[in-house]
């Protein structure tokens, strides 16, 4: 500090006073003849002296020499990101959104004798093909190849299109009077008996049967449906088109309804993991305490569902029992309905986040998703508790879902009625029958959370329609639909993430980009193109798997911990730091 003071002290006074000395030295150094002429010196005629030029140049030079050194010392590592490839992928996805080609195979089972005419099959095929302009634009289906087989007493005739898997003569129209479940399996075996890799072919069988019961449509657990009854050709064609487009392609979601492919998010973590956490909530254990045998029954029922959804998400199942967990909304007693009623408007306040310590799971690390499924057992005071729909009706399932969060089922213990006595803390077990029923509701809720319909009503179909329920919770054609949509939405989100990462890196020239990020981006791009290739081959499940992987890698790259380092600063800030 003292040194500084000296400098400052020396510097401050000389300025005005030393000008004379300065002048003399300056004047003496360049020998200027004009200086001698006294009071009126003529303006300077010569160029400034070389000394001054050298001084200026040396200062400039030292700067120029120092600059590369400075830049070298402040260099940062940036792994090159394949931004061209990202842009290319994004362009490709925009111009050709992934579309899955699939096949439609119509089988006409005729009871009459004689061999069918070959030209009829081709004619029907053309007729069906013309209907596909009905397909809504949002569908993920690509090219549809149509084939027709006609079977009658004398044999089968197929249209010219590819070899059909139909095993001729294994099944006749008469079989359709059997039990639907049985017929479904028969049909499955008649069609080759496997769910097949490669392009998915949906089969619709028209079984002509004149039993006078009228026409009905049954949609099976696999990729087929059948129509039983006396239908003429035009009616059959319209039914085929209807069933195929409405259910097999769109999952029964109408225009304007929310559901799969209608901007709904999939409740799957960005790393492809989902934890299903089941909780049994005893609102007031002073009244009664219920326990459940979830480990055996729950696992048994849910394992097929978990297996079926594996291409979409890796699902873990957990369960727990909690006590002293009152709800946080009010219900009112309704004598007419014989219980306490919770109206629709109170549902948003039902979940009591203060007292329901549902907890996230340790196994749900990072960016995976937890879906909570809650069984709420009301206390004696509020039992039985019903959910009232806006139209005044009571909810059939007594359950509701909250998108992206999970679902709640209100379970009234058996024998609870208004004014029922407290059981004083007796511990009981939820019977396996009741647990299974509850789990079925949960599977319905899971379907809904994944964007499918919890159950189907034959809306919009002018004939009776029946849906066979798979023990997997999801029919094969529904799973196809899920895989397709999952692959598409994951691909789009992967590309969006990669694009924002690329533009972020480009907009911040001072950002450090680790090699690992570059590698993750490359792997993500690879997985994305694999998903696209599988999509063009019509392999929905492998496409979904690759798309999930692509998205997970893209998110890993975007949320890499090193991205949060401090070198985010602008250029001005950077200069300020290094000026120190």
């Amino acid at each position: 500090a003292r040194k500084m003071a000296e400098i400052a002290g020396d510097e401050t006074p000389p300025l005005p006073s030393s000008s004379g000395a300065e002048e003399s030295s300056l004047l003496s150094s360049p020998p200027s003849p004009t200086a001698i002429s006294g009071d009126e010196p003529p303006p300077r005629t010569r160029k400034p002296g070389t000394k001054r030029l050298v001084l200026t140049a040396s200062v400039l030079l030292s700067f120029l020499v120092g600059l590369p050194l400075l830049l070298k010392s402040t260099e940062i590592h940036r792994s090159p990101l394949p931004s061209d490839a990202i842009a290319d992928l994004s362009r490709r996805l925009q111009s050709h959104p992934p579309s899955f080609p699939c096949g439609l195979h119509a089988v006409f089972l005729r009871s009459g004798p004689g061999s069918p005419v070959a030209s009829l099959a081709d004619q029907l095929e053309r007729a069906i093909s013309t209907q596909h302009h009905l397909l809504p634009a949002s569908s993920t289906a690509g090219n549809i190849s149509v084939s027709v087989t006609i079977q009658s007493g004398g044999g089968c005739t197929s249209s010219t299109a590819a070899a059909s898997p139909w095993r001729c003569g294994l099944l006749t129209a008469a079989d359709s009077v059997r039990d639907d479940e049985v017929f479904d399996e028969l049909l499955h075996s008649a069609l080759g008996g496997r769910d097949g890799d490669g392009m998915k072919v949906y089969t619709i069988v028209i079984a002509e049967d004149d039993d006078g019961k009228g026409t009905r449509v049954v949609i099976g657990k696999h990729r087929h449906a059948w129509v039983v009854g006396k239908v003429d050709e035009a009616e059959a064609l319209s039914l085929i088109g209807n069933v195929f487009i409405k259910y097999f392609m769109n999952g029964g979601i109408e225009e304007g309804e929310t559901g799969i492919g209608k901007g709904e998010f999939m409740p799957v973590g960005s790393d492809g993991n989902v934890v299903l956490s089941f909780s049994l909530l005893n609102a007031d254990p002073n009244d009664w305490v219920y326990d459940w045998e979830f480990k055996n029954i729950g696992e048994r029922i849910l394992t097929p569902v978990v297996e079926a959804l594996r291409p979409v998400a890796d699902i873990n199942i957990e369960s727990q029992v909690l006590y002293h967990t009152p709800k946080s909304s009010y219900s009112y007693s309704d004598d007419k309905l014989g219980g306490n009623v919770l109206s629709m408007g109170d549902i948003p306040f039902f979940v009591n986040s203060n007292e329901w310590h549902l907890d996230t799971s340790i196994s749900a690390t990072g960016r995976s998703k937890v879906l909570q499924f809650v069984v709420y057992i009301p206390s004696a005071r509020e039992c039985p508790l019903y959910l009232q729909l806006p139209d005044g009706e009571l909810s059939k399932t007594n359950a509701f879902i909250s998108p992206m969060w999970g679902g709640v089922v209100i379970w009234n213990p058996p024998g609870c009625s208004v004014g029922s006595k407290k059981a004083h803390g007796t511990r009981r077990q939820m019977s396996s029958q009741e647990l299974m029923e509850t789990l079925e509701i949960f599977i319905g809720q899971l379907r809904q959370l994944f964007g499918l319909k919890p159950n189907y009503h034959a809306q919009g179909m002018d004939v009776a329609t029946k849906f066979l329920v798979s023990e997997k919770g999801f029919a094969q054609w529904e799973l196809d639909l899920l895989y397709r949509h999952h692959a598409c939405s994951n691909l789009l989100s992967c590309v969006a993430t990669l694009e924002s990462l690329s533009s972020l890196v480009q907009s911040l020239p001072r950002m450090i980009v680790m090699d690992e990020i570059g590698r993750q981006v490359e792997l993500s791009l690879e997985a994305a193109s694999l998903a696209q290739r599988n999509a063009t081959l019509g392999i929905g499940d492998s496409s979904a798997v690759s798309a999930t992987r692509a998205r997970a890698l893209a998110e890993d790259a975007f949320f890499h911990p090193s991205i949060m380092s401090i070198s985010y600063a602008s250029v001005e800030h950077y200069f300020a730091i290094y000026m120190e």
Partner: protein
């Protein structure tokens, strides 16, 4: 001749088979019985000699070994089970403590002080069931998980400067134990709430409902602990304990001896917790309250010639107990009396409010550890100092051991010192009753891990052997104070840095208790813990070391200093290059107007320089 042995052998074989079958059946039966998750809750109350009262809550949740562990649970907390599964923990103890256990007044030679007296702040240790190479990484992940689970800064134990791996000084292990302590962690309700969340009834019902926060946190000592043990054969056993020392709030209460009886206040549960106990947690297997009357009082009652019942000459318990137990210490001498209350028999209409009323003023003292250990700092200044540890005999050894010449008492010292306190272990000096002794005479075994700057803390494990006749032993160690980087200082660095408590244990003294009269069917996890082998331990004080703190405005000073130098340099350089003062002088002579202008310019320039100087001095 041949037949009898053969038949005998066959018979023997058959009976063996039968026995095996029976055993298998019994095993499967016990497996069935043990296959359920269980929860028990217990509370122990004890009057303390210094007018205070001790309350010790003990909750045990156990989960049987099962394939579904961590996924399907009924009573056991899912989070803990998943923690054990994920980090392969075989033992873990985490304690949050506020205040210091008073070993002189509250006991130093009983299971309570041995197991439940903990150092202030957070202490965490864990034994992992993992290959040694993976343990450090697992420990780091574990600290982060616990930090999230308990809403505390346990994640500060992640850094390798914060934890150590003692081999025998803390607990004998095979190198798979990690120990860390945060002496400055403040403990409050935000740590209690997640701890309560692990109980099936939380604080909504049962014994935990007594935990009225204002009275609990008003206490003198408060230690909340979570201890878990896990093994393939036993499953997971989670013990949650909360030990509080409270001042009974009896100001408005009726005093039996209003003048002379001020020695001991009579109190009840309501005075301690502002609440009565109205029933148990419904899912608990057993729910009990114990009142423990210490040996000091029992001896007094015996002296008074009365029977140690719940109503005797000295005191009366407000509620008649369901059972009373005699407690024997490890030398089979009666140490204290326990009175048990089964909370099952009480409900909201008939709440339990156990209390003690003194009939006579009474003075008694608790049993103490053989030595009172304390630790303090010596020296002054910011450069160096020394740590001293003193062991003051409490006279216990006189009663226990015959004072022959070669008799000695062992003590194990374990202490961890952060790297910035650079201890010179060679400077260890030992003084016994004021006389300097050779190290080899006193130190039996020593294991030191020296600290490494910004990498490792210094760990010292030491087995000492004191002669029985010794009154006072002092150990000193010199240290230098290190310098930290400016970023490494915590907020309020001038307060000083805490060195975690050292642990002193006396391996020859065991605080385990036994209950010979207890019914074999009477299972109490709290008393089971008391029965366990417990080496007498005591924690020393936390040390506060002031370190040199830098002037935290220094970086700004440097910036302004450099900027001023640069400004002066460039200013004068530009001045020299741009201006031609000689010509200007001549110009001034020519035109007065120009001169005036020039003057103004110079003025402003000098003004500028003056300002920059002033600015600079301001910063200095």
């Amino acid at each position: 001749m041949m037949m009898p042995p053969s038949t005998a052998r066959r018979l023997c074989f058959l009976s063996l088979l039968l026995l095996l079958l029976l055993l298998a059946a019994a095993a499967s039966a016990t497996a069935d019985a043990a296959a359920a998750e269980e929860f028990t809750e217990e509370l122990l109350l004890r009057p303390l000699p210094d007018r205070k009262a001790l309350a010790h809550f003990h909750f045990r949740s156990s989960a049987p070994p099962a394939s579904a562990a961590g996924r399907h649970h009924h009573l056991f907390p899912k989070a803990i089970s998943q923690l054990v599964q994920k980090f392969h923990i075989s033992e873990l103890e985490l304690s949050f403590t506020q205040g210091r256990w008073n070993y002189e007044q509250w006991g130093g030679y009983d299971p309570m002080s041995t197991n439940n007296a903990k150092p202030p702040g957070v202490e965490l240790w864990a034994i992992f069931d993992l290959p040694l190479a993976e343990i450090d990484a697992t420990w780091k992940n574990l600290t982060h998980t616990l930090s999230g689970l308990f809403c505390a800064s346990i994640n500060f134990l992640e850094s390798s400067t914060a934890f150590s791996a003692p081999r025998w000084g803390f607990k004998l292990n095979e190198g798979n134990l990690r120990y860390g302590a945060l002496p400055r962690e403040a403990v409050c309700t935000e740590n209690l709430t997640p701890w309560l969340k692990l109980l099936p009834c939380r604080d909504k019902a049962g014994i935990a409902s007594l935990l009225y926060r204002p009275s609990v946190y008003k206490g003198y000592y408060h230690s909340q602990k979570l201890k878990l043990k896990s093994s393939q054969s036993l499953g997971i056993i989670l013990d949650q304990t909360l030990t509080v020392v409270l001042q009974p709030n009896t100001v408005s209460g009726k005093q039996l001896h209003s003048t002379g009886g001020q020695l001991q206040p009579s109190w009840s549960m309501e005075h301690l917790f502002s609440k009565k106990l109205s029933g148990k947690c419904l899912v608990s297997k057993s729910s009990r309250v114990f009142v423990e009357i210490e040996k000091g009082i029992v001896d007094n009652v015996d002296k008074a010639g009365s029977d140690v019942s719940s109503n005797n000459d000295l005191f009366v318990l407000s509620t008649a107990p369901d059972r009373s137990l005699k407690e024997l210490d490890n030398l089979e001498v009666q140490s204290s009396s326990l009175y048990e209350y089964d909370v099952n028999n009480y409900n909201s209409d008939k709440p339990l409010n156990v209390g003690i009323t003194w009939k006579l003023p009474l003075i008694w003292s608790c049993t103490r550890a053989p030595y009172h250990a304390s630790r303090f700092l010596m020296g002054s200044g910011n450069e160096r100092g020394s740590i001293a540890m003193s062991f003051l005999s409490t006279g216990l050894d006189k009663q226990l051991v015959d004072s022959s010449n070669d008799c000695s008492i062992k003590a194990v010292v374990f202490q961890v010192v952060p790297w910035y306190v650079k201890v010179y272990y060679h400077s260890l000096e030992v003084f016994i009753d004021g006389n300097s002794k050779a190290i080899s005479e006193v130190v039996d075994k020593i294991h030191v891990t020296p600290s490494e700057d910004k990498l490792l803390p210094g760990t010292m494990e030491m087995l000492l052997k004191f002669p029985c006749s010794m009154q006072l032993a002092t150990l000193t160690l010199d240290f230098d104070k290190g310098f930290l980087h400016i970023d490494e200082y915590p907020p309020d660095a001038n307060q000083g840095f805490d060195i975690p408590s050292a642990l002193v244990s006396f391996p020859e003294f065991n605080s385990s208790r036994s209950y010979p009269e207890a019914d074999p069917l009477f299972v109490s996890p709290l008393l089971e813990n008391f029965k366990e082998d417990g080496v007498v331990k005591s924690y020393t004080e936390v040390l506060l070391v002031p370190l040199t703190t830098p002037d935290f405005s220094m970086p700004y000073n440097v910036i302004t200093f450099t900027c001023t130098v640069l400004a002066l340099y460039f200013g004068s350089l530009l001045n020299a290059l741009r201006r031609r003062i000689g010509e200007e002088e001549r110009g001034l002579k020519k035109a007065a107007l120009v001169r005036e202008l020039q003057f103004a310019l110079l003025q402003s320039q000098s003004q500028m320089l003056r300002w920059s100087t002033i600015y600079f001095f301001c910063w200095i």
